[in-house]
Symmetry: D2
Subunit: 324 residues, 4 copies
Amino acid sequence: MCTAATYLTKDFYIGRTLDYEFSYGEEITILPRNYPIPFRFMGIRENHYAIIGMAHVAGNYPLYYDAINEKGLGMAGLNFVGNSVYRKPEGVKDDVAQFEFIPWVLSQCANLDEARALLDRMNLTDTPYSEHFPSAGLHWILADRTGALTIESVADGLKIYENPAGVLTNNPPFDQQMFLLNNYIGLSPKQPENHFSEQLPLSCYSRGMGALGLPGDLSSASRFARAAFTRLHSVSGDSEEESVGQFFHILGSVEQPRGCCEVADGKYEITIYTSCCNATRGIYYYTTYTNHQITAVDMHRENLDGNELIHYPMLQQERIFHQN
Amino acid sequence: MCTAATYLTKDFYIGRTLDYEFSYGEEITILPRNYPIPFRFMGIRENHYAIIGMAHVAGNYPLYYDAINEKGLGMAGLNFVGNSVYRKPEGVKDDVAQFEFIPWVLSQCANLDEARALLDRMNLTDTPYSEHFPSAGLHWILADRTGALTIESVADGLKIYENPAGVLTNNPPFDQQMFLLNNYIGLSPKQPENHFSEQLPLSCYSRGMGALGLPGDLSSASRFARAAFTRLHSVSGDSEEESVGQFFHILGSVEQPRGCCEVADGKYEITIYTSCCNATRGIYYYTTYTNHQITAVDMHRENLDGNELIHYPMLQQERIFHQN
Amino acid sequence: MCTAATYLTKDFYIGRTLDYEFSYGEEITILPRNYPIPFRFMGIRENHYAIIGMAHVAGNYPLYYDAINEKGLGMAGLNFVGNSVYRKPEGVKDDVAQFEFIPWVLSQCANLDEARALLDRMNLTDTPYSEHFPSAGLHWILADRTGALTIESVADGLKIYENPAGVLTNNPPFDQQMFLLNNYIGLSPKQPENHFSEQLPLSCYSRGMGALGLPGDLSSASRFARAAFTRLHSVSGDSEEESVGQFFHILGSVEQPRGCCEVADGKYEITIYTSCCNATRGIYYYTTYTNHQITAVDMHRENLDGNELIHYPMLQQERIFHQN
Amino acid sequence: MCTAATYLTKDFYIGRTLDYEFSYGEEITILPRNYPIPFRFMGIRENHYAIIGMAHVAGNYPLYYDAINEKGLGMAGLNFVGNSVYRKPEGVKDDVAQFEFIPWVLSQCANLDEARALLDRMNLTDTPYSEHFPSAGLHWILADRTGALTIESVADGLKIYENPAGVLTNNPPFDQQMFLLNNYIGLSPKQPENHFSEQLPLSCYSRGMGALGLPGDLSSASRFARAAFTRLHSVSGDSEEESVGQFFHILGSVEQPRGCCEVADGKYEITIYTSCCNATRGIYYYTTYTNHQITAVDMHRENLDGNELIHYPMLQQERIFHQN
């Protein structure tokens, strides 16, 4: 389905894969400071932080999949089908429709602490954007350079988890995903020592045997373990190019090639796009299944004081550089 | 260490990852038809098929890692440390030094059938290129659009295996790698059926659970299984861009991110480059760890009747396309 | 730690392994109908169903580990350290100390339906038996021939789960154990079909490959999966000997040999005893680590109308039959 | 199919499981010193070491499955279908029919060193015992208190391997089984350390997590790993009862319960019997699927200077000890 991750070098990065069998048509969308955001139950916010992210734009409204704001806070929604349970608006707390959740947070919170306070008084509702866009079953990762949260609205209520792994995929719920990592506790980038038996002449016949047991399939629990292992052991320089490059390598470990996950006869889930947002500098980098080159959209190259959505199509054409 | 794969759509493709903790300095190198190839024991071949591939060029001699010729035959050498055993020159069969093996085959064989005949009368020797370049422990994949072979020179002699998986990694020997695939016989891109028990309400909580059991670590046997599964289930269009793109997705499934395979304190094996050769059209595509964009060198844009090596440096700089 | 299972042929069977590094001294203990049971908060029960089970007898009081009553209801307590949370007595519901739970249920419930009703109005308290016997962190399986329940007192409250697997081990909580079985959904006693690739000549090199992926270690989640697989696929005749024999084979699949689970330097968890109760006929069968022969204590060979505990030591001496 | 193991305390023990879907009718059979053994190509041996083991007796000839001799040397034949290749008698070396292999060795070798010398000049032939008993595809474990060998007659010739694991199962060939143990190199009876990430609060939620990754199914490679792990970490006292008891626990780890390995519709492979021979003292202990009690036949209670086979039926009836 999807995998999200965070990464910290000099700057803070957050991004995700979007894995699905078709695209709804999404665009890199900048929401400038003076675009009036109409919330269903909370009025219109006229002035706010600027946001850049991937969104399906419906009737001039950005349905964000993942985004950052100009203050360095980032957020992504990932499929959570079968576990997400939203509430009805109650008029007590802040009633926020699930499709508004990302702009609700990113428009007004400069960092994770502010977001924590906001989440405490929020009621996430199942209000659909329209009859054509029913409420999606999602959970979210919300992060800045100080840490990450996972937010899940389940039968039990709204759960807010610290996320020390800096990774989110899909089912099962986040606390179970974290629990399951215990099964991989001994895995390491270094070669294993022989604990099986000193009486046997065992040896490492290959490099990389310290992580034997790490799952390689595309299910959400396996992607969680693999992305967490890769992210937590990641080593890179801290320049922009090195950081962004390494980030795409991290999410590359859970990329879904066409053919390996057949969701219906002849229909395959693939990694439609992979994003990497420099949340510190407001740059949205992405690759698509059909274009390996990293493409960038920089919010600060736009007039952020405007009041109209700015959007760029996702470049899908493989851009091959011909060296001769 | 490394992974190689083949892929057939309208054209035939072969490529590989080169995984290591440092680079010897390799270049995309074209050996034109009239470059005189000096073989150690077999004289000089003045006229031959043109070759393009990745090579370390030492004293104007191309030490090829992987290459194709203009006829559609391709070949790659991969680490096989601890298992490869070469012979001494004997003057009976064709004595070929292991570093000459790729040009020996690609310079004179138009296809796999011709190569089979050539291999039958070959004696692979441990002769080093020079005292600075000792003989490397390798095994090879050799393929055209009709199929693939694996060639291993072991204690037992020279082994030539049909390779229906179209994949090669490193240890253990190829016949064992193929045997081990039996352990994954039930894995599928489709969701599994419930055979555990009809009495239990089991279900698939995520897409992609049909391949649970596929290993996700970076050891050579795990990469073999993962690359084979990905390649054998690969689905793509047959245009050049779709084919090349899909090929990089196949090898992406075994890419080595920096940090996940620590070979000495603070030293990490990474995928230095990934190649994809269109063997039908003579185009060498590649990406590097630090440059996600696909770069191409087309042998047919050069004068293939020349007698001098043509080489292009590997472009290492991340080429980001700025959309705004 | 421990594994419990149920089994149904003509009669109904329930039993368990007790896995630990030392024994507290337990005996097969019959509690006859007129032994007055003093409950801490619920008065004394003078007349009740007779019970047979394994207990540590402290001051003439049976601290049962596992037991059945004369009506065919059985129950076993298994370690649940780190997850069990008991309550304080409140005087509202039936306050039952955790050490009284087994006699509380088995003394008055003839079947699972009656037990369900009783559980609904119960408050499980952390009251210790004495300062020498602090409250143990446990959860329970409770079963008759119609089905099985798992009962867990956790931070969230008292959880009562239907248990279609008929198996209980230790951590994590039961709902997670059941969820994890989804990962084994495709496992089968039959040979797997080739879904990996029709292009490869894969085959089953051994019988029993349909269950590849079933874990073989002694951790509680792995024992849960292995015992569930074995129990759910179990095939036996329905005579007493065939049923009892098969039951010991089921729990044999998770037996802990000395040396394979080192809990402190030189201290090893082993399967101290394995029990199999014929709940229909009131017979307690057991083996111990040091005695492979099945030993039986039949409650109906005692005067069940008595008012004194009857207890038999566990026979620990290997009884070898010398055929010549 | 089958698993064999050795064990050394004060005395030396060797035994095996016989796993199959039906029995040919085997008996504990003593071959005394003066029973004339008719070899097909090597004459009749009139005087020799006495042997005790499990055999199908056909026409007064013992077709041994596993046996020991009075000198402390033991041997067992296990299924090796698809890999075993026998030779034709050639009249050069000692031509020995595969069905004669166990008496050939045990009748004349007092220890492993003498056996090594004998094996060096042996040619193992495919000669069947009779038209009703075609040659079986087997390989063998041969051991005394100093060590163990595995003997395999394959397409490549007769292979004699040192067997430091002290375990044998079935396919694949022994060198591959040993190689595969490298994949379990890090497994331990102790709890694992956290190498996954210091940033995560991972913990061991259960005892026994150090062996996570050990396979739990009944295929021959999985049984090999599980039996090797159990045997190599085994801890027991060195008395006869403790040693024999522990041995049955070792092989208990790979016992096949009825229902878990379906070889044809409604036909299940089970562990028909498990043996444990005290090779030092000449005692044959066994259990059967239907009788958990250990039964013993002691060769030294018979007249070993006789010239007639002595045989005892396998006791199949569950012998339950009734404690009240």
